[in-house]
Amino acid sequence: MSLILKNISLPLAPFTLEVDVEIHGRVTVIFGPSGSGKTSLLEVVAGLRAARTAFIQLDDWVLTDVARGVFVPIRQRGVGYVPQDLALFPHLSVRQNLLYGRKSGRDKERVFPFERIVEILEIQPLLQRGVTQLSGGEKQRVALARALLAAPRLLLLDEPLASLDLKLKMRILPYLARVRDEFRIPMLYVTHDRLETLALADRMVVLVNGKIEQTGPVQEVFSRPASLAVADMLAVETILEGRIVKMDGELVTVAAGPTALVSAAQNLPANTREVYACIRAEDVMVLKGGDVPGSARNHLAAVVKSVAREGALMRVELDCGFALAALLTKQACEELALQPGARVVALVKAPHIHLIPR
């Protein structure tokens, strides 16, 4: 799949949505804070909203070209859309909702069998019910199935899990992963949730105030945010203000308060001095105080401030001259006997300290 979004411009209330991007791959997350224009972008792609200028091409098919007056009608685009409020038809049963857009005959190679979709999303017991009697998670699955049964070429999902609590979210995520793996429909997935992004997407587009801040593979964006705005939004746990004090080939030494950190810097502009040093909690290792440091250059004496559950992991707040967050497994926390006041050593490998010029 390739989706070309060229020269898209749409005035929104406080800013103008301006997008120029080529999207490849199975699941691409459009990541951004609320009000950054993510939903509007999906609506433009689906044809639900007219942009001032736009060129949209899905594979070899031009869907919209404002300059040349091309605008494929919504119903012919083959773009499935699951809006945030799901928009299930309240006067129809679950079965009738599912069958509303069902394709048959024409486009046969893209048609998914009804039974298979019902099975994968575990909708069978709901079929006869009215949609108003469904729970949030059930509605979510029905809306997804309804879009899939119309055999779209591209599926647009607008914060599909935003209204669900964490527990339910963890239960619905595997369904989405199954849909991704079984039906191989390319998806544009709007969210501002790190968990969903990491679980589902292979690439991501970061949208802030209507402009693209960064695009790339998910892992790369998470470990090398292009700007402070992106790092902030991805909730990189530790962001320190620092000054470069030494550059030794690949290795850059940064003074952050009283501490010196060594980073394997990535293509910093030549005369960068002031930087933000970003450290993700997953990349922080914790050792018992007095342990011999390994190959990691940054070993920092630290005091445990707090230990709290975060999903399947434990989040440990450390004080090592600055506040540093670490994510550890529960076993690790028990083995290290981590509790507030414990003295430990925090380790961060040089490649895991990412520098952003400020």
Binding site: L48, I74, R75, A87, P90, Y100
Partner: protein, 222 residues
């Protein structure tokens, strides 16, 4: 009730049913245009449609009379081309009732359609539905109760219409006399007892119409 009274009651109901059936498709179509489309001259059409509500019914009747009479622009053409008379026939009754009840239908149907979430219609389109399918499978079913309530209102209005009817259709016993014009005539003639019989029929019909309407409105709110 005498045969003549039955005739008047039946004729009035028939004319009300006919006029309501006549305006239903146009009224719903116009209501949809007003609710869902933006177009030039929309405000003008809105004003025009509302006119019979605010104009004295006799004035509406007078305008119709002048337009449709054999010397009027429309009536003249119809008569010379098809030898077709409207004024002072049952057709004039149906037409007067239609014109007078049209705004009630359009207004109620319009707000019923406006209450349908446009996002549902959009989603139907992304699922491959064309405009007709969207209207008949999404908009209409979801606005059904409101449109039905508007239809009942229009019907009730038609049952009681007086001013426009008497101007354009007159009051010809057995031909154009309705419950309202019939009652008026009876009272004028001092036949109060007969007038009360017809008034009783009106009361029963009005009660039924309003009662149905209230039931519909209550269900549509749920």
């Amino acid at each position: 009730m005498t045969a003549a009274e039955w005739q008047i009651a039946r004729f009035t109901v028939e004319m009300a049913v006919l006029s309501t059936a006549l305006i239903l498709p146009f009224g719903v179509a116009l209501a949809w245009c007003l609710a869902r489309l933006r177009w030039r001259g929309k405000a003008l059409v809105e004003t025009f449609v509302a006119f019979p509500l605010v104009l004295p019914p006799v004035v509406t009747g007078l305008i119709l009379l002048k337009l449709l009479g054999r010397r009027g622009p429309i009536g003249h053409w119809l008569y010379s081309e098809f030898h077709f008379d409207i004024v002072f026939t049952w057709r004039a009754v149906a037409l007067a009732l239609a014109v007078m009840s049209f705004p009630l239908l359009v207004w109620t149907a319009r707000s019923a359609i406006e209450e349908v979430n446009p996002a549902l219609e959009q989603i139907a389109r992304t699922l491959g539905a064309g405009e007709w399918r969207v209207f008949f499978t999404i908009t209409l079913p979801l606005a059904k109760r409101g449109i039905l309530a508007g239809t009942v209102l229009a019907f009730a209005r038609a049952l009681g219409e007086f001013g426009a009817t008497i101007m354009v259709a007159g009051n010809i016993p057995g031909l154009t006399t309705t419950l309202s014009t019939g009652i008026y005539q009876l009272v004028q003639a001092g036949e109060d007892n007969q007038a009360w019989t017809l008034a009783g029929v009106s009361l029963a019909l009005a009660f039924a119409a309003v009662w149905i309407n209230v039931r519909l409105m209550r269900r549509s709110k749920r």
